[in-house]
Symmetry: C2
Subunit: 334 residues, 2 copies
């Protein structure tokens, strides 16, 4: 059912299993103990950063399926995307699985986007079990978006640190501990921010737009939810999000947290404005949030993943940064 | 309903309108007269090839909506993707529309992928009207995937020519002249082809796999369809597709054509193995095929769009080319 532009899933697409993979730095952060698989270097046994990123997705999907005791053939469709040019993190990471694949591009919003599309397919009765997965890798992202690490370039205080991480979620049409109740697909918002070193500022308006539309469509308020997680606005973007929502009388400060603020220790890990990358919110969702939903600590959660849809080319051509934010409402079953 | 891994759309998501945009070379080709909007140069009024590609998508969507007398607000979701790094053709082309957007990545298979996802959302009752759109641009693709045009590099005989084109399809949950009846989402196939100058050979196994699975799932044969269009295997890939399907006793030669073979005059336009690019099959679909379905010349069509999921980085790292093919069955209403 569609209310406004918010989707209500009547079939309650349910969370069957999930898995998280994290790099060394991420596993040393505040949520390190929650991740299923932790790497000891940047390579995960591969010989390039890009291949390492593919490995992250491969490991996450394999582990999530293992937890659910599923084979590849049991999955009707896998929804995947990442930040690398032509999404090679996904295509190469998942190519051996033989699962029908729907490639997505939502930049750092991909975890929410891939879950939404999976839910829609289950709701339509066109899939019984699906996998949603995404990843990011600090080293592959730095040399693609900014500079090769060897340059040792300085990062501005507003910059965020791309997480080396992945998360995979297996959804099913059969009842489980938790399910996706609603979703709002984001519109592209571009308020003219041009600074590719300040993604939080660029993305905050997209998050505000989606969250605002969700509350209007569902006639609910922030206090109706156990927690509201955005990913990955970081410290700069989260502050701006509060201010933007204030204009509409919406105050999420009480129960909001941001995956980009959670994944690293801001002071101890030298990450400036926080974490980012598709894998940041994906790993926090699959490492921490879903467990908290299932164990009843956070029975009713909003997860709003944000993405900056720029490319190095668009920045070089002087263009601004269009952004998007996709939101899902995840609930514990009564 | 899911039969095997093939989706049967019981709600008959219908084609409300569609539009095609083509570049100068494409409009001089055999199907030039069918395209709605034709450009006179490579820029479409913009100052870079990438911005020109965004403009292609913008024009295609605007024209398709105009034909259907719809406003942006009437559309529940737009499904879009392209070949450019971070899919900036879509993000920048569609950013002003204010329509919820689902970004996709399927390389040259994107037109089928975006229609499938739109159909699934309509089937789930989670959208009333959707837009599916994609694009490609010869000049932006050449400098991103291969060499800047200024280098004047020579192309091998197996190379395909990226079409400068776009196509947009508006789908609706209300009955129209034609509808999407079935769809098969592709699996990644990688038989080890490494030559990025021979995409047809790399993609043929993916097309064969999807077409084979569709026939098995639906218990139908090639002769049950008015026509089978692949896009964009070109001359090399189409020949290989015939041979691969021969192994399973499937002969599509009688009613097959390939968008990459159709869009250009092979001899007169110096395109070697044919056309390619997301916009190639998108413009042939929206320029020619859908009209032939609606007017009853081709009442029951298979459209199988193929994509090569490589990136320049994966090729430089010596990797092979994973490919995918997504298939839809489009039918005229009785």
């Amino acid at each position: 059912m569609l209310i406004g532009k918010t989707m209500i899933f009547e079939s309650k697409p349910a969370i069957l299993s999930f898995a998280s993979v994290a790099g060394k730095k991420e596993s040393e952060g505040p949520f390190g103990k929650y991740f299923d698989i932790c790497g000891h270097d940047s390579f995960f046994g591969e010989n390039s950063f890009e291949k390492a990123e593919s490995k992250l997705q491969k490991l996450a999907v394999e582990y999530a399926l293992k937890k659910a005791t599923l084979n590849f053939g049991d999955v009707d469709c896998i929804f995947a995307g990442d930040l690398l040019n032509q999404c090679i993190g996904s295509s190469f990471g998942l190519r051996d699985f033989g699962i029908p694949i729907c490639g997505l591009y939502g930049a750092c919003s991909t975890m929410a986007l891939s879950i939404i599309n999976a839910c829609v397919q289950i709701e339509a009765g066109l899939a019984r079990r699906t996998v949603s997965v995404t990843s990011s890798h600090f080293c592959s992202a730095e040399r693609q978006y900014r500079f090769p690490l060897e340059y040792g370039s300085q990062r501005p205080p507003t910059a965020q640190w791309t997480a080396t991480a992945s998360g995979a979620v297996v959804l099913t049409n059969e009842q489980q501990k938790a399910y996706i109740d609603k979703a709002t697909i984001g519109k592209i918002c571009d308020l003219g921010v041009k600074d590719a070193g300040n993604m939080g500022a660029a993305m905050a308006p997209a998050a505000a737009d989606t969250i605002r539309r969700f509350f209007v469509d569902t006639r609910t308020r922030p206090q109706d939810y156990s927690a509201i997680f955005t990913g990955d606005l970081g410290y700069v973007g989260s502050t701006l999000l509060y201010e933007l929502l204030d204009e509409d009388g919406i105050n999420i400060r009480e129960n909001h947290n941001d995956c980009g603020m959670m994944i690293f220790d801001r002071e101890g890990q030298d990450v400036h404005a926080g974490g980012s990358g598709c894998g940041c919110s994906a790993s926090i969702l699959t490492g921490f949030i879903l467990k908290e939903i299932e164990n009843g600590h956070l029975p009713n959660v909003l997860f709003c993943a944000t993405g900056a849809l720029l490319s190095p080319t668009s920045t070089q051509q002087g263009d601004t940064i269009p952004c998007v934010a996709h939101l899902i409402n995840i609930r514990k079953n009564d």
